[in-house]
């Protein structure tokens, strides 16, 4: 008969075994802050493991001593009247527990300070993240209005440079959480806060909303693309351009479809008449890897499916179904795919 505790232990171990190296994993940090958090994780893990092993050893010994397994009646008390050994044992155990808890508390606070504190004075990149139901609006504010980059769900940052994030929310409380990079930060409606992070290893890191925010909370992801400084600047220059002009007839027709249907009531494509700020900015949609807040790959098929019936993919999302004629849809998707 395997004691139930063994399963708990196996569960703990399973949690400790690193998952497949991914980009959404606090045990594979790609940033200094993530490393602090990972260190704290292992610190607490080993303490808890030691406590757990000691508890199991103690229980097993007590069980063997009192012969629970041999089904003999348990003695009421092991110790004779007036023996104070039991009191001492309990007192010591309580004291050790309290000390360990205080140590864990102190280390947690220290790690929190290390995560929040700025350790570099290099010029930071400032980005502004606004939570929406259920996507992320990302801008790179610049005093010069025409130098402000606006995008959605895909945050590009230069490697090795601190990134100051100004947060806000358009509707309810969301929480910005890229597990491999830093801890969670709530986005509060009508109240701007700020924090920073820095990514040291280039790569694509996935993030997720970590505060329940409505029907599609689970499908509110984002990604952080960490790239070299020169790549980042090239990306920024590309994003600053207005939308690409149609090069062939099909794409031109797609633009006409976009501008004469429901799309333009919510979306912006800079360089055209569409300028509404309700939904994500689509000026450079084709440069993003995913659509619908990291829900679907940015492919022709997924894009068409999303446009026609978003309510099947993300029920409750703010985007309306668009029953377009097949050739209109084809043209519209070609146009959107051309927006590099």
């Amino acid at each position: 008969m395997i004691p139930e505790a063994t399963f708990h232990f196996a569960g703990l171990l399973a949690q400790a075994v690193p998952l497949a190296p991914g980009s959404h994993n606090i045990l594979h940090p790609g940033a200094p802050q993530g490393s602090h958090i990972e260190w704290l994780y292992w610190f607490i893990f080993w303490i808890l493991l030691a406590v757990y092993v000691l508890m199991i050893v103690g229980f097993t010994r007590a069980g063997a001593k009192s012969r629970v397994l041999s089904r003999e009646p348990l003695p009421i008390s092991e110790y004779p009247e007036g023996d104070r050994r039991a009191k001492w044992a309990v007192g010591t155990a309580v004291a050790i527990t309290v000390i360990i808890l205080f140590v864990v508390l102190a280390i947690s606070v220290a790690t929190g300070k290390r995560v929040a504190g700025m350790t570099t004075s290099k010029n930071p990149v400032t980005i502004s993240v606004t939570g929406h139901q259920w996507w992320w609006e990302v801008t790179y504010p610049n005093p010069q209005a025409d130098q402000t980059v606006t995008t959605a769900n895909e945050i590009h940052v230069p490697v090795g440079t601190p990134v100051v994030v100004l947060t806000n929310s358009a509707d309810v409380i969301h929480s910005f959480w890229p597990p491999s990079i830093t801890g969670k930060r709530d986005l509060l409606p009508g109240y701007s806060t700020a924090f920073w992070f820095q990514v040291d290893q280039p790569g694509v890191y996935r993030g997720q909303c970590a505060e329940f925010c409505g029907l599609q909370h689970a499908h509110m992801g984002f990604s952080i693309v960490a790239q070299s400084v020169s790549d980042f600047q090239a990306w920024q220059q590309q994003q600053l351009k207005p939308a690409a002009e149609p090069t062939d007839q099909e794409v031109a027709r797609g633009r006409a479809v976009f501008l004469t249907h429901t799309c333009l009531m919510c979306h912006t494509i800079r360089g055209t008449d569409a300028g509404s700020r309700v939904g994500p900015d689509l000026t450079h949609l084709a440069s993003r890897k995913m659509i619908a807040a990291e829900t679907l790959p940015n492919t022709t098929g997924a894009l068409a499916g999303w446009i026609v019936d978003p309510q099947r993919i993300k029920p409750g999302a703010r985007m309306t179904p668009n029953p377009l004629a097949p050739d209109d849809l084809q043209a519209l998707v070609s146009y959107l795919r051309s927006l590099q």
Binding site: M118, N123, V164, G190, A194, T262, L264, M265, T320
Partner: protein
């Protein structure tokens, strides 16, 4: 007479049970049928036999607080506020009074939004899906009290004398501002 308190309790319980009816939110709206707007007519005057079809039923949008509040959201997002303000009017006529230039029936307002009207009201045909137009219609009617109170949304925050807690003026973030400090 001994039974009276029990009877009253049961009555209260039954009333409470009755209030449990939950509104159903239709997330996947039925695809719009043919453009119904041309069957909606503004005037009852008609040459020949009276052949005005009845306006399409829109009750499903006017009986749910959810759809009316969706209308309130859309009213803001689709920039109705740009001309009609939050009901008080400005460039466009006020919507919270009792004067209806083109009729106050749901079908009339639907037609106004879809077709546009002289002197500035644009046509939103093909630009706004029909179910959202009906939601806007429901909200516009709620502005002047044509909808029952239990579905009408409260006034938007913008109309309060004092800004609400959720729309306080922009504050500079506490903590990090601009250039990060050197840590000693």
């Amino acid at each position: 007479m001994k039974r009276l308190p029990q009877f009253v309790l049961m009555l209260i319980a039954a009333l409470l049970l009755g209030s449990c009816k939950r509104e159903e939110r239709v997330l996947r709206q039925p695809p719009p049928a043919d453009e119904t707007l041309n069957v909606v007519q503004i005037s009852g005057l008609n040459p020949g036999a009276n052949s005005i079809p009845t306006p399409p039923p829109s009750n499903m949008y006017e009986e749910s607080a959810y759809t009316v509040s969706e209308g309130q959201k859309l009213y803001e997002q689709y920039n109705c506020v740009g001309c009609h303000a939050h009901g008080g009017g400005g460039i466009g006529p006020p919507l919270m009074d009792n004067n209806w230039i083109y009729g106050s029936e749901p079908g009339n307002i639907f037609a106004t939004i879809m077709q546009g009207r002289p002197n500035g009201m644009p046509s939103f045909r093909n630009r706004i899906p029909q179910y959202q137009v009906w939601e806007l219609v429901a909200y516009v009617r709620s502005l002047s009290g044509l909808l029952p109170k239990y579905v009408s949304p409260s006034r938007p925050d913008e109309m309060n004398v004092k800004p609400s807690e959720s729309s306080t003026p922009h504050q500079n973030p506490t903590g990090i501002t601009g250039e990060p400090e050197q840590r000693k």
